[in-house]
């Protein structure tokens, strides 16, 4: 069953006693996208994933996954989902191949298909030829096996909770490349606090803060929405320029960065108009004038701080 939005949450509230883990979350994830789900620790990311996988039920609101209600999770729905929890735990007496075989059997995969898939996934996870029991694995190895088991059924929807948190740079790159490679073939919903991973991999993001969605948009649109821009100016005396632009209406932040002045501006057009004039007035030599975008990290901090 093709669904335009494999994940839809509408006014979802989840409480634990007096604590509102989720406080009216509304979210819609387009099919085939790689969707980044960002938020500081304790913002409700893992709780959201527990609702999506049918491990928990919402206190109120509507949760729809691939067009169905996930709690209690019907096996037909789970057969189309791959899930990696934040800290995956395995049967430690099994080997990686045995765990993948067990997982594949739960999905009812045919033996020849399963064996072929196990071989490919062990290769992807860097665990081919590892015959020791999972109990002896490092955290990174377990994380990579966690990603592999989430892919064993070739899912339509892949839910990943902090998939790169325990990986070294090389392992991280491989997993992010693999996630990016799924674009268009599966929908990937990917929770993380590593902004660089989202910038590198995702097309759309939602930022969760204290149980609420602070923003949801394609990354570029989100950057534009903050209404702030970055301008990098190179002059022969950056300190004088920095003092001169401090306090101007269009300038919100002035920072010295070696031979450059890094400005954060609210009105890019005004800055581009006035800056050369200021440089000329001071009699400085202009070596560089460059408009740049805010990083996702700055957008994230803006949105999260703005809500407090």
């Amino acid at each position: 069953m093709a669904t335009e939005h494999p994940i839809e949450l509408e006014g979802v509230v989840k409480t634990f006693g007096d604590v509102h883990a989720l406080d009216g979350v509304t979210l819609s994830v387009p099919a085939g996208s790689v969707f980044g789900f960002l938020g500081p620790n304790g913002s409700g990311k893992t709780t959201t994933l527990r609702l999506l996988t049918g491990l928990a039920r919402p206190t109120s609101g509507r949760v729809s996954v691939l067009g169905r209600r996930p709690f209690p999770a019907p096996p037909a729905l789970l057969s189309r989902i791959g899930y990696l929890p934040d800290v995956p735990r395995f049967y430690e007496w099994m080997t990686a191949a045995e765990f993948l075989r067990f997982s594949g059997r739960l999905f009812g995969l045919e033996r020849s298909v399963l064996e072929e898939r196990i071989r490919a996934l062990l290769e992807l996870a860097g665990l081919a030829g590892v015959t020791s029991k999972i109990g002896g694995y490092s955290r990174g190895m377990k994380q990579r096996l966690g990603v592999a088991q989430a892919l064993v059924n070739a899912p339509d929807l892949l839910l990943l909770d902090e998939p790169t948190s325990a990986l070294d740079p090389l392992g991280r790159k491989e997993i992010l490349d693999m996630i990016a490679g799924l674009r268009g073939r599966a929908t990937v919903f990917f929770s993380t606090h590593i902004l660089a991973d989202v910038e590198r991999t995702c097309d759309t993001v939602a930022i969760l803060d204290r149980g609420r969605v602070a923003a949801q948009a394609p990354i570029d649109e989100l950057r534009r929405r903050t209404g702030r821009h970055r301008v990098l100016v190179g002059v022969d005396d950056p300190a004088r320029l920095a003092a001169a632009v401090e306090g101007r209406a269009w300038s919100t932040e002035v920072e010295l960065a070696g031979p450059f002045v890094r400005l954060t501006v609210g009105d890019l057009a005004a800055a581009q108009r006035e800056l050369p004039a200021v440089v000329a007035e001071l009699g400085l030599a202009l070596t560089r004038l460059e408009a740049d975008e805010l990083s996702l990290e700055e957008v994230f901090v803006d949105l999260v701080r703005g809500g407090r």
């Binding site: 527990r50 491990l55 209690p72 096996p75 929890p85 735990r89 059997r105 966690g146």
Partner: protein, 252 residues
């Protein structure tokens, strides 16, 4: 029941490859070996005690029936308590920092999860009890004589029905109580309560009477087991139903 066969297969592999293969079968083998051995040694032990001045005990000749009686006593106390302690975390054990999250987000229905665990452990209990009983009969035959084997089998069969009921009790408790130790303690509480109730007349036609009936069967007496077995079956089904219902709606 989606995923039952795959999950049951995992449960059997887990029994074979972890501590589970040693604990309950180990206790049963200990019960089977120690009963005839201690019974055979009893006259010597008593004789030694008799050498103490002012201390005198006289016992009759010990027989195969005494050895089987000792074995049944071990089953009723030692092994029954081992069942309750070993299975206090049957459901909750995998939920507390275990792999249940990975397993239950795959197409394994929750009833299948509960019933596969029950089936695997019940089979282990049945096979281990049969093997231990065969071992006990062999050792008893070597030390005494074969004795009333048919009565032994009838008695152990009744005890096994009771032990399977205790397994269902442990399953239900472990679905309701998140801490395995709490579930085991509650199970032991129910076990003691049933032992007390079995002394009263009104409890005669109930499952509480099964361990006592096992003793009577071993003695060769005619025992009416219909109502105790029926009540055991009905309450076991209710316990399993409660475990499935509770686990089916539980947040993980």
């Amino acid at each position: 029941m989606s995923g039952f066969a795959a999950f049951a297969r995992k449960e059997f592999a887990e029994i074979a490859r972890t501590w589970r293969i040693w604990v309950l079968p180990g206790v049963l083998v200990f019960a089977a070996l120690s009963a005839p051995a201690l019974t055979a040694l009893l006259p010597t032990l008593v004789e030694r005690l008799g050498e103490t001045p002012g201390f005198s005990i006289e016992i009759g000749e010990v027989t195969a029936l005494d050895a089987y009686g000792e074995y049944l006593g071990n089953l009723r106390e030692l092994v029954a308590l081992a069942v309750l302690i070993a299975y206090g975390g049957l459901i909750s054990g995998e939920l507390r920092g275990g792999p249940a999250v990975l397993v239950l987000t795959k197409p394994l229905s929750r009833p299948a999860y509960v019933l596969a665990k029950l089936a695997a452990q019940a089979l282990l209990l049945i096979v281990a009890t049969a093997a231990a009983t065969a071992l006990c009969i062999a050792v008893t035959a070597a030390l005494f004589e074969v004795g009333p084997v048919a009565d032994v089998i009838a008695a152990v069969g009744l005890w096994l029905a009771y032990a399977l009921w205790l397994l269902c009790l442990a399953l239900a408790l472990s679905a309701f109580l998140p801490a395995p130790a709490a579930a085991s303690a509650a199970g032991v509480g129910v076990y003691v309560l049933l032992a007390v109730l079995s002394q009263f007349g009104f409890a005669r036609p109930t499952l509480a009477r099964l361990p006592t009936l096992a003793g009577e069967a071993l003695a060769g007496g005619a025992v009416d087991v219909a109502w105790p077995l029926l009540t055991a079956l009905a309450t076991a089904a209710a316990l399993v139903g409660l475990a499935v219902a509770r686990f089916g709606r539980r947040e993980i």
